[in-house]
């Protein structure tokens, strides 16, 4: 083999702490290396042209590029090789930026390490084989998991683009957190007035199949051909028959069921429709509070239902949908505010969360849009907002900024004044973070036009005083303590990853960060992709987002899906396992360890042998390290290839 080595300066990123010329010079002595040079920016157009010219000029048949991480530019350089007429798998990358120049200051040690990494790459390349991909067809249907505003946007954009969409929502209605909001910042638009029509579009779109009250149970397959098993949870109402007339909810005698849509402010009936604009507008029974299901008595809803839709015997059902791509849009949950004992959340009824306050402001909420204290139903005059409850606080494991709390607090301060003109709002804040379009102007309006008093400092405690609450905190601008008597305290609760998000990530085989938010493919350049081909992200499951960002990401994910589906065929990754039939003894260990069921037993001239199902194999190589014979080898990561690297670094 005639190997060419190209050592990239990456401007001063590498050259600053690595002597690239020396790396190139030294690598000329490695086995197989016929040509070596350093280059300013290997990934740039002239850099790639340089590689192509060198391949032709020096008759190279393998290339090592020493530059950044292969997770960044391996595909770039593989394409360069193809342009020069070489097989894309006769390429190796030495990561001398992320793993060398950026983590060490010692130029001599770095240069030495870079030389070793090139030596390893060249040694592996000597063992590389040309590999060819196969073409396979794509199932051009897409599944969106999560029916919040991000999922709705992604679903509508995909459906309008002509794709068949399967939308899976775990609660009985789509709408997500946005549907619970009264108004949106900074326009003070009515939330359900802008979201409602889009929800109706979902219900009416001929390309969209909606599974509400459903969850993803299992995900199998690979990009272009996923099989997703969905659990349709029992709602005890036959939704094909239910017309959403609401008679059952009126007559249900059990009126003490939890009301998650109203954030547990007030109670609801055991059979209910979460809110008037719910999509699908179907009733569902909460079995924990249904007297018929619990005690076998009652049955009022079944008697009264004009379409005979009630079915107390209903069981969970499972359906499998085949799709080619998946968009995760599972959103976020609110931080558990009761962790802050000093704020009295969960202890004093008049300390509520921002989302509970939002329900109180909403005309469709439990108080009909009248602001009332939960304790005695009186209209509050002094409302204190405490910001950063579960945001920017290392002590509760939430050191990140949730991003939207400053804005919704300003909105709620404005709305408070609208609802109760003689009221006074106080906002305890750490910093005001309002970087969006018209956002800073909006928080200023809350202060200047609506007279909300912003106090910069943390609250140390909230304690009762008679019927009211005293809020004691620091005012770090005035340099002293302040105490405010409040009728109502609203905690601006931060966002955290949705409960169960990690479980879904494991099913989808995508990564999540230490807070449980899903990891994007690249923090700058692949914001909606994941590292699993065919799985995309939208909305707050990736990190806290406001509505415009969630919608933008929903559309971006849809664009990625439409882009993926613009081809009729995808090329398979040939880095999969292959069985050497002569060495295989048919023990079946690879079959039992493969997590994807990608290996089957075949009969070969009367002997048991293993065979890899090429389209199912994901290329993990568990089989290869399991096989006692070394008979099944993961292509591009064979035992010989890995050991060549090990030997290159150990023996010299």
């Amino acid at each position: 083999m005639r190997i060419g080595v190209f050592v990239c300066h990456c401007g001063s990123n590498i050259e600053g702490t690595v002597d690239t010329a020396k790396v190139a010079e030294t690598s000329k002595d490695f086995p197989g290396v016929a040509f070596a040079t350093d280059t300013m920016y290997a990934c740039s157009e002239p850099g790639q042209e340089g590689i192509i010219n060198a391949i032709k000029e020096h008759d190279l048949d393998g290339v090592v590029v020493a530059s950044c991480t292969p997770r960044m530019h391996e595909p770039t350089f593989r394409r360069t090789l193809e342009r020069a007429g070489l097989n894309r798998y006769l390429f190796e990358m030495a990561n001398i930026r992320e793993h060398v120049s950026w983590i060490g200051r010692d130029r001599e040690a770095n240069t030495n390490k870079a030389i070793d990494l090139v030596r390893m790459a060249a040694a592996k390349l000597l063992n590389d084989q040309p590999l060819e991909s196969k073409q396979f067809s794509i199932n051009k249907r897409v599944m969106i998991i999560g029916g919040g505003v991000a999922g709705i946007q992604a679903a509508l954009d995909c459906a309008d683009g002509g794709l068949e969409v399967v939308l899976v929502e775990k609660t009985t209605t789509i709408g997500g957190k946005m549907a619970k909001l009264d108004k949106t910042f900074p326009t003070v638009d009515c939330s359900s007035c802008i979201l409602g029509p889009r929800m109706v579009d979902i219900a009416q779109h001929p390309n969209i199949t909606l599974y509400a009250a459903s969850e993803v149970e299992e995900v199998g397959g690979y990009v272009g051909n996923f099989d997703v098993k969905i659990k349709k949870k029992a709602t005890y109402v036959n939704w094909d028959a239910c017309t959403g007339c609401g008679l059952c909810t009126e007559k249900c005698p059990s009126k003490k069921a939890d009301d998650p849509f109203n954030e547990e402010l007030g109670k609801t009936t055991a059979i209910n429709i979460p809110f008037p604009q719910a999509i699908p507008k179907k009733a569902a029974i909460n079995p924990d509070f249904c007297m018929k299901i619990q005690k076998g008595k009652c049955g009022v809803c079944a008697k009264i239902c004009p379409s005979n839709a009630i079915d107390y015997e209903q069981k969970d059902e499972f359906v499998t949908e085949s799709v080619g791509a998946i968009v995760a849009a599972t959103g976020f949950d609110l931080f558990d505010w009761t962790v802050y004992g000093e704020y009295g959340g969960g202890k004093y009824p008049d300390v509520i969360t921002s989302l509970q306050y939002e329900r109180m402001l909403s005309a469709s909420g439990p108080t009909g849009g009248h602001v009332k204290r939960p304790s005695d139903g009186k209209e509050p005059k002094n409302v204190v907002f405490i910001q950063c409850v579960g945001s920017r606080d290392k002590s509760v494991g939430r050191p990140y900024c949730s991003g939207f709390c400053c804005m919704y607090t300003a909105k709620q301060a404005i709305l408070t004044k609208d609802h109760i003109p003689d009221s006074q709002s106080y906002v305890f804040y750490m910093d005001i973070r309002s970087p969006g379009k018209m956002y800073d102007e909006f928080t200023r309006r809350a202060q200047e036009e609506y007279g909300a008093r912003y106090v910069r400092g943390r609250v140390s405690m909230v304690y009762p005083k008679g019927e009211n609450l005293m809020v004691r905190g620091a005012d770090t601008l005035m340099g002293g303590q302040v105490e405010v008597e409040a009728d109502l305290v609203v905690l601006a609760v931060g966002a955290e990853a949705a409960k169960g998000a990690s479980g879904l990530a494991e099913k989808l085989r995508i990564s999540y960060d230490s807070y449980g938010f899903y990891m994007e493919g690249h923090p700058k350049l692949k914001p909606v992709e994941t590292n699993t081909a065919g799985v995309y992200l939208a909305g707050s499951c990736q990190g806290p987002k406001d509505i415009p960002s969630s919608v933008a990401q929903g559309s971006a994910a849809a664009a990625k899906v439409l882009g993926l589906f613009s081809k009729d065929q995808l090329a398979s990754d040939p880095q999969i396992s292959q069985v050497n039939i002569k060495r295989c003894i048919g023990c079946g260990k690879c079959i039992s360890t493969c997590p994807f069921g990608a290996i089957k037993e075949i009969d070969f001239r009367g002997m048991k042998k293993a065979e890899v199902i090429e389209t199912v194999c994901q290329g993990c190589g568990i089989c290869t390290s399991t096989c006692p014979q070394g008979a099944i080898q993961l292509q591009h990561f064979t035992d010989n290839q890995i050991l060549a690297e090990v030997n290159a670094v150990c023996r010299f």
Binding site: R105, N112, Y512, P595, C620, T624, I642
Partner: protein
């Protein structure tokens, strides 16, 4: 080439592509300074790591071997790291029987977002290897006998 006259020792890292290699990248992007002794071999999954790779590295002159993969239950390939954990734990207990200090081999889990954790892992492990010092050479007939024993055992 001598390794900087003993300033560095020879440490081989086997990292899965999805979590730990990404974590090492994140550490680089974040400029989290680390000792330079470690050389990383990228593999698709920690489940791809045959314990023989580690033993061969140690027999061939590595002073330490570090394996890192995705956190349990967060594997890109569903359960590769569970296979890895079983194999590597067995290997760790087995090493003293072939005359290798078990402290020369560690395995750990680092996700792609944990740049800082990767810095700590590398720094800690490198310190540990420096405390143990350069590995005694196993050569000639001894090495071959050991390898044979291993082929049979692993």
């Amino acid at each position: 080439m001598p390794v900087l006259e003993g300033k560095e020792l020879r440490i081989v890292g086997f990292l899965c592509n999805w979590c730990s290699y990404g974590g090492a990248d994140t550490a680089g992007v974040g400029r989290f300074t680390q000792p330079t002794d470690l050389r990383i071999v990228r593999v698709p999954c920690s489940g791809r790591i045959d314990p023989m790779f580690i033993v061969k590295a140690l027999l061939n002159g590595a002073d330490g071997v570090l394996v890192s993969g995705c956190h349990p239950r967060d594997c890109h390939y569903a359960e590769g790291n569970f296979y890895a954990r079983r194999r590597l734990e067995v290997l760790k207990r087995f090493l003293p029987f072939i005359g290798i200090e078990p402290g020369r081999f560690e395995y750990t889990w680092v996700s792609a977002s944990e740049g800082q954790r990767w810095q700590q892992v590398v720094t800690g492990f490198t310190e540990q290897i420096h405390k143990l010092g350069p590995a005694p050479k196993i050569e000639g007939a001894d090495a071959e006998a050991t390898l044979k024993l291993l082929e049979a055992a692993l």
